[in-house]
């Protein structure tokens, strides 16, 4: 009887044998993946921790960013633990964790947060009883304000991250300007004076309206410098007032007078704007502390040795900034919350925090490490950030922070584009935020 199939080297190759071979291969792969003990008899399975983290150069832990790798390996051995990272680009973090939490199942044990703790509070494990007291004592008390909701500490900030002013010292010198601007008037004047020779005095990423590091959050910096705040004591918006309008008008004036890089409205991420400054195509911007590292690296910067940093210029109420609120949290669905807490303690270990600042540029949060002479020498911008921290730096985070900042940021973009005046934009923003907050407050 003829059977279909070809003969190759004496063996029968037909559909049945191909199907059987494929099934056997699949079963073998599945066994290797899900039953490693079958292949390594006698080996005990280490506890696996899963961590959701941003990709470097955003603040990332050892294993995602290259620092303290030996210490990390030692920690894993000592705790019989394996750590699996899922590192994603910063803009994708919020949506990824939203779908993870919505699934109701365990996906990650440790989550990176940036302003989202109130939004995801119900999915996070309170850390009040888990944080060692000696660690708490070594952290700035104010660092817990953005990770505390409904009286519970739900995370721990791991980097002192406030926006400060960064500027090209050589450009200022060429323009005959003595030192960085210290007031709004100086900021506007300097930006105009520094716009020359194909470069701009000011650059920022106004392309993403929402979130910390978005257009709305930059306006919040100027809002606080003008003496304003986002919400009143009743939780309703109060920003549609003189300080709010002044803050937005400053941004509009700097945009319309040509001193702001017009591409700023299309730069989505902070790295887009950072690259403009480090390429020497802009003179000033506000940025997070990490900027010191890439700006000092000849491989990524054309302004090595020319970067200066200072406290942000003062408005009528003084200087102010916002907090990046970069924190580690533990999910309620974590299978090993105690081990997850140990991992976070490792991330906050003084030796690891020291390597964090020296190797990645992200400042430590531990006060003892910030005061270390080696750290202050390796990160001269740390002293500026500490000085900035003496001024207000509220990020106004709430459970609907994304929606609120989307509304405000979009209206700010309309004002920058000249579609609306500052007053009109803030009025419309206030109306939208009132509706959003009313739905939350009920």
């Amino acid at each position: 009887m003829h059977r279909s199939g070809s003969r190759i080297a004496g063996s029968r190759l037909d559909r049945r044998s191909l199907l059987g071979g494929g099934a056997a291969a699949g079963a073998g792969l599945a066994a290797a993946r899900y039953a490693p003990g079958l292949w390594t008899p006698g080996a005990s399975a280490a506890t696996n921790l899963s961590v959701l983290s941003p990709l470097a150069p955003d603040p990332a832990p050892p294993g995602v960013a290259e620092f303290a790798m030996d210490d990390f390996a030692s920690w894993k051995t000592a705790n019989d633990a394996e750590v699996t990272y899922e590192a994603v680009a910063w803009p994708e973090l919020h949506d990824k964790m939203a779908t993870n939490f919505a699934s109701g199942t365990h996906v990650h044990d440790v989550y990176y947060m940036s302003g989202w703790v109130p939004e995801f509070a119900q999915f996070l494990t309170p850390l009040d009883d888990m944080l060692p007291q000696d660690l708490v004592d070594d952290l700035p008390p104010s660092s817990f304000s953005t990770v505390t909701w409904d009286g519970q500490r739900l995370g721990v900030v791991f980097t002192l991250s406030l926006l400060t002013l960064f500027y090209n010292m050589e450009h200022l010198e060429e323009a005959g300007l003595d030192g960085p601007p210290t007031t709004w008037d100086e900021l506007k004047g300097y930006a105009q004076e520094l716009t020359r020779d194909g470069r701009y005095g000011w650059v920022l990423n106004y392309g993403e309206p929402a979130g910390i590091g978005g257009t709305a959050s930059y306006w919040m910096v100027f809002l606080q410098q003008a003496g304003g705040k986002l919400y009143g004591d009743d939780g309703m918006p109060v920003f549609n007032d003189a300080p709010g309008i002044e803050a937005l008008q400053l941004m509009v004036d700097m945009y319309t007078n040509g001193s702001t890089d017009p591409g700023s409205i299309s730069y989505i991420g902070i790295n887009d704007a950072t690259n403009i400054l480090t390429a020497g195509n802009a003179s000033m911007m506000m940025n997070w502390p990490f900027m010191w590292k890439p700006a000092s690296d000849p491989a990524t910067s054309k302004i090595v040795g020319k970067l200066g940093t200072a406290v942000l210029p003062a408005g009528s109420a003084g200087s102010a900034s916002i907090d990046g609120t970069d924190a580690w949290t533990i999910a309620k669905t974590s299978v090993s919350p105690e081990l997850a807490m140990k991992l976070i303690e490792f991330y906050l270990d003084p030796a690891v925090q020291t390597r964090q600042v020296l190797d990645t540029g992200w400042l430590p949060i531990r006060l003892s490490v910030l005061e270390d002479p080696e750290v202050q020498k390796g990160a001269p911008n740390a002293a500026v950030v500490l000085e900035q921290a003496q001024h207000p730096y509220d990020s106004f985070v709430t459970p609907d922070y994304n929606e609120v900042t989307q509304a405000i940021g979009t209206e700010i973009q309309r004002a920058l584009q000249g579609e609306k005046t500052a007053e009109e934009a803030l009025q419309d923003a206030s109306d939208q935020v009132t509706e959003i907050v009313s739905q939350r407050l009920g």
Binding site: P91, H94, D95, A98, T99, F101, A102, G104, E119, F120, Q122, F123, Y206, G207, E208, P209, A210, D261, P262, G263, S264, I265, S266, I268, I276, N281, K332, D400, N402, E403, Q406, T410, E411, Q413, R414, L416, Q417, E419
Partner: protein, 321 residues
């Protein structure tokens, strides 16, 4: 004549006993259905169930609470919100402009490309290979590519235009509201033309050459041959291309996500991105599902309308010949 002597008698056979379960055709049909059931189960699970679930979700208020998506019946409240939502109307206008413009541009350019490829010189494989390059690039990779082409400071487009003396200053392609949407349109047209061109090329190659010869003999000029031979012959592939491109244009997402995040000031906000933003940025799943269902309904109705108007594959009557 005895039966045994009848030469036809040997052909007479007693009818074979009918096998249980019906005749061969019925058994084949049953076997076919049985073999298709697994695929049907998968289709119901992957396509029909999510659609039904989404429709139900659109009538609920669904938010993350107490560790899960909590739902309460909201009736038509989400759809009422849509009717009063200015952002939705803006996204709808943008989507309508984007879709109509892209469909017209893609069909026109793809038809031109297909006509060129259907010539003796155009049949060389190298031309088809070059044509396919935009189409084979992954959507996100395509978006990143265009991000660097359109960059306000470092973009290749600005460099080219200034080098050619067409402009004397760099243009902020993605920072100007009206211009940003048109540049996204350009990027998506570039990617969409190849596949549609191939569909139309296949249709052109199916038109019998004899029809062109006959038309030529009757004195038809180039335009008349195109209008009375080519276009009618392309009715089915054109209908297919129209439906596919309309759906694809309406659901563009990757370009918005990578290039503009719907900015500046929602100038490039399209319905698909709005549904995503509402669902995953604002965690308002019910409202997001309502927007997504509106998109589904629009595309479904459009597809039905196109197919009814164009009647692909239907024989034409003598009166219309």
């Amino acid at each position: 004549m005895s039966v045994s002597a009848n030469p036809l008698a040997s052909r007479h056979r007693e009818p074979l006993p009918r096998p249980s379960g019906g005749n061969l055709a019925q058994r084949r049909r049953r076997t076919g259905v049985f073999l298709v059931i697994p695929a049907l189960v998968v289709m119901v699970a992957v396509i029909l169930y999510p659609i039904a679930r989404s429709i139900v979700l659109s009538f609920q208020e669904a938010k993350l609470s107490a560790g899960e998506i909590g739902t309460t019946w909201a009736g038509g409240e989400n759809y009422r919100r849509i009717s009063e939502d200015e952002t939705f109307m803006l996204a709808l206008r943008n989507s309508a402009f984007f879709t109509v413009s892209e469909v017209l541009l893609v069909l026109a350019i793809a038809l031109g490309v297909a006509l060129l490829l259907n010539t003796r010189a155009g049949r060389k494989p190298i031309y088809t290979t070059i044509l396919l390059v935009p189409w084979v690039i992954a959507p996100v990779a395509n978006a990143v590519l265009w991000k660097w082409i359109l960059h306000a400071n470092y973009g290749a487009l600005n460099a080219l235009l200034t080098a050619l003396g067409i402009t004397d200053r760099y243009v902020n392609w993605l920072g100007t509201p009206g211009l940003a949407l048109r540049m996204l349109l350009l990027a998506d047209v570039w990617k969409s033309v190849p596949f549609i061109a191939l569909i139309l090329l296949a249709g052109l190659q199916n038109i019998p050459a004899a029809l062109y010869k006959a038309a030529k003999l009757d004195g038809a000029n180039v335009w008349q041959r195109f209008r009375y031979v080519t276009l009618p012959g392309l009715r089915t592939p054109l209908a297919l291309a129209l439906v596919l491109q309309t759906i694809w244009s309406f659901k563009v997402f990757d370009l918005i996500f990578v290039l503009t995040k719907a900015g500046p000031a929602d100038a490039t906000l399209l319905l698909n991105f709005l549904a995503y933003r509402v669902s995953f940025n604002f965690l308002d799943f019910g409202y997001g599902a309502a927007i997504a269902n509106i998109i589904f309904l629009i595309m479904f109705v459009l597809a039905l309308v196109f197919i009814k108007l164009l009647k692909p594959g239907a024989p034409r009557s003598r009166a219309n010949a």
